[in-house]
């Protein structure tokens, strides 16, 4: 046997040893953790398992899209938290993407004034921790005047320390969520059909509004008007949509912060579009808007979408800071459940599982979007 063969065999043996060691160590850690957990839980008199999900909670929380009651079982309460996380997450994703594209385009503008305004915005909101912005904003919001002295815009929109009151369609919250989902599905359908950007936006907006009006007309309660406007009655507002102060704070804070990040992603993408292409557009007599929507954005999207997907996942994860102001997102519900029921391991597993599911789904959606947006010639 040659020396080289011996060396190779030795190396192979070492690799097998290292891997076996790693597996052994992992198994040891897991087994150790499980046995310790069992003894610790027994000492505290806790039964492990998911049986607690059927017990009723007995505590209340701030916000829910569906009817809630303090006697709800843990399973339903956790589900409400999960819905809230998805709700805030998707609203934040929608708004940050919208504003991010606007601000990012402004960062790329040739006009100095617009460019510097966008730069000031990005540099302020990107460089302060999100949680500080949220707590700051919440402190300002809860110190607003009460409903009787609410700030109003044309007596239809009111802002007070109870929240933002908007005029809205006379439908139940469940129907409203259904409408949001339908609008989202329409958007996905339009992307799937590869509708051009501006026409797609027009079709999407028009379709969504039409859908809302038809549903509201069909589903409104007997005798109610199509649109209900908030009005002060005694000490509180009636009618319209009330966005509670916690939800309002969450949406505004995440949107302000996230838009600054997405603006940078968009700016980076736009900067990578070769200058010759814009000049070619100018030579053809296209307007600035046409150059933006037909040349720059389609080219830039290829490099924008992967980091944009990361930002969407970040936004979803960022909803966990709701706990700082008492917004009942999944993390908040889980942490209260842990103190109330003591089922730490099960609840943490549910929490982690929910985030793996949502973020996995978002990653799949981003990949699909990326594949859709690829230029055909490439």
């Amino acid at each position: 046997m040659s020396k080289a063969d011996e060396l190779r065999r030795k190396a192979k043996r070492r690799k097998i040893l290292i891997q076996a060691g790693l597996i052994g160590l992992s198994v040891l850690v897991i087994v150790g953790a499980v046995t310790t957990a069992r003894t610790n839980l027994e000492a505290q008199g806790l039964t492990s398992g998911f049986g607690f999900l059927d017990r009723s909670t007995g505590w209340d929380y701030s916000f829910s899209l569906v009817p809630k009651d303090i006697m709800d079982p843990y399973a339903r309460t956790l589900f409400v938290g999960f819905l809230n996380t998805l709700f805030v997450g998707f609203i934040a994703i929608f708004l940050t993407t919208l504003f991010g594209f606007i601000i990012g385009t402004a960062r790329d503008a040739s006009n100095i004034a617009i460019k510097s305004a966008a730069t000031v915005y990005v540099q302020i909101f990107r460089n302060i921790p999100l949680i500080l912005q949220l707590v700051f904003l919440y402190a300002v919001l809860i110190n607003l005047p009460g409903p009787r002295q609410a700030m109003s815009m044309g007596d239809t929109v009111f802002l007070s320390n109870r929240g933002l009151m908007l005029p809205g369609l006379s439908v139940t919250p469940g129907v409203a969520v259904g409408l949001l989902l339908a609008s989202f599905a329409l958007g996905v359908f339009l992307i799937w059909r590869k509708m051009p950007l501006f026409r797609g936006l027009v079709v999407w907006l028009g379709g969504s509004i039409l859908m809302c009006l038809v549903t509201a007309f069909a589903m409104r309660p007997e005798g109610a008007s199509l649109v209900s406007v908030p009005a002060l009655q005694g000490l509180r507002f009636r009618g319209g949509i009330t966005i509670p102060i916690e939800l309002f704070g969450m949406i505004i804070a995440i949107t302000l912060y996230g838009s600054a990040y997405i603006a940078e992603v968009v700016r980076g993408g736009l900067a990578q579009v070769p200058k010759g292409l814009t000049e070619a557009g100018q030579a053809l007599g296209l307007t600035t808007g046409q150059i933006w929507s037909r040349i720059k954005i389609p080219m830039a999207l290829r490099s924008i979408i992967p980091p944009l997907g990361n930002q969407w996942i970040f936004m979803m994860k960022a909803t966990t800071i709701g706990v700082a102001i008492g917004f009942s997102d999944l993390f908040y519900i889980v942490s209260i459940s842990i103190t109330q029921s003591g089922q730490t391991l099960e609840l943490i597993a549910i929490l982690a599982g929910a985030f793996l599911l949502v973020n996995g789904g978002l990653a799949v959606f981003t990949n699909w979007l990326n594949a859709r947006m690829k230029l055909k010639a490439h």
Partner: protein, 362 residues
């Protein structure tokens, strides 16, 4: 391009050329420029008026701030409570130690930005020395000073402590994970891939919360350690998983021939890595690494949720009780300004480096 059209290139001409092109190229453009600048100027003036002109800088007591009488910012609250915000519950007569410790960490970060320090030996020495200086000063017992345990640490000093320990621990962990991910051994690679993807898809808050409440259940009590160290290790794991991806990007930029050249010279794996590959990887990964460090500094603000008395919590305490309660705005502006200064300057430095490296690669 513009320079060619300017016959006598004076600075004034150049500026007016640019302005003509980029601010007043058409009537609508001009209106837009003036409108936007007016709004910006008005905002800046309103802020300046509130924060400087009508502000009250010091007051014997709260009444002099006179909330509701048209006075501006009441900076007297910072004057009265800055020690609480900066040092938390640290013993009052020992605040000089907390100051020195914070200065040690800031100096460490600043010195790391000097290219002269960018060798593995120097940078590691610098961070270990800076961190040790911080710990010795804050803890005190080894220097013969009054002992202050970690429960007593707070405010800005605690934020800096969390930040520096996370970066110090997380950096080698990140490198380790990146190397494991490149390994030829399937189980080693799989282990690293699963760990990285798992941690990256969980919110940081969940990771920290798990460290705070789950570890005591699944570890025997002799392994449990202080809550602060559990949280730091979990935070460092989070940092490492992201940093591993940054290093992976750096590794991908190195041609395979570099490894083969090392092998052909008879160098071992570790020699090739340490002398040839890693120096280049670090160079490539530098801008993204700075970005990661900036994000980490921002994310340390989350620890308030799991019950640490960091600068956010001490800010809340500063206006939370009694007399200064109406002046929450001033306290939050002060803390936001501290964060902003750190994060903005680090971020600008990162941008500068990126630009410099782009030039040297051309």
């Amino acid at each position: 391009m513009t320079d060619l059209s300017v016959t006598s290139p004076s600075r004034f001409r150049a500026i007016s050329e640019t302005l003509k092109k980029r601010a007043f190229s058409s009537p609508t453009d001009s209106v837009l420029t003036i409108l936007v600048f007016c709004v910006l100027a008005w905002l800046a003036w309103a802020l300046f008026d509130w924060a400087v002109l009508r502000a009250i800088w010091s007051a014997e007591n709260v009444d002099q701030c006179g909330k509701g009488t048209g006075a501006g910012a009441c900076w007297a609250v910072i004057d009265a409570r800055h020690r609480l915000i900066l040092f938390g519950l640290y013993p009052f007569d020992q605040h000089w130690r907390s100051t020195l410790a914070a200065v040690a960490i800031i100096a460490t970060v600043v010195i790391s930005c000097v290219p002269l320090m960018w060798t593995a030996k120097r940078i590691v020495t610098l961070w270990v020395v800076g961190f040790a200086a911080y710990y010795l000063l804050m803890e005190g017992s080894l220097l013969g000073l009054q002992q202050v345990t970690t429960d007593g640490w707070g405010g800005l000093s605690l934020t800096l402590f969390l930040f520096s320990s996370v970066v110090l621990l997380g950096m080698p962990m990140g490198l380790g994970l990146a190397l494991m991910r490149r390994s030829e051994m399937p189980f080693v690679r799989g282990f690293s891939v699963i760990l990285i993807d798992f941690v990256r898809s969980l919110p940081l808050l969940v990771t920290l919360f798990t460290a705070a409440v789950v570890i005591p259940i699944i570890l025997p009590s002799w392994l449990e350690g202080d809550k602060i160290w559990r949280v730091i290790i979990a935070f460092a794991l989070f940092f490492a998983c992201y940093q591993a991806e940054v290093f992976r990007g750096g590794f991908q930029a190195i041609p395979k021939g570099q490894f083969e050249a090392g092998q052909a010279l008879g160098l071992t794996y570790w020699q090739t890595l340490g002398r040839i590959v890693l120096p280049q990887v670090f160079r490539h990964a530098l801008p993204s690494t700075i970005n990661m460090v900036v994000i980490t500094f921002k994310e340390t603000a989350l620890v308030i949720i799991i019950g640490f008395f960091d600068i956010m919590a001490s800010a809340k305490a500063a206006f939370g009780t009694g007399e200064w309660a109406p002046y929450y705005l001033e306290v939050y502006v002060f803390v936001a300004l501290i964060y902003w200064l750190f994060i903005f300057s680090l971020g600008q430095y990162g941008e500068y480096l990126k630009g410099r490296m782009a030039i040297s690669e051309r």
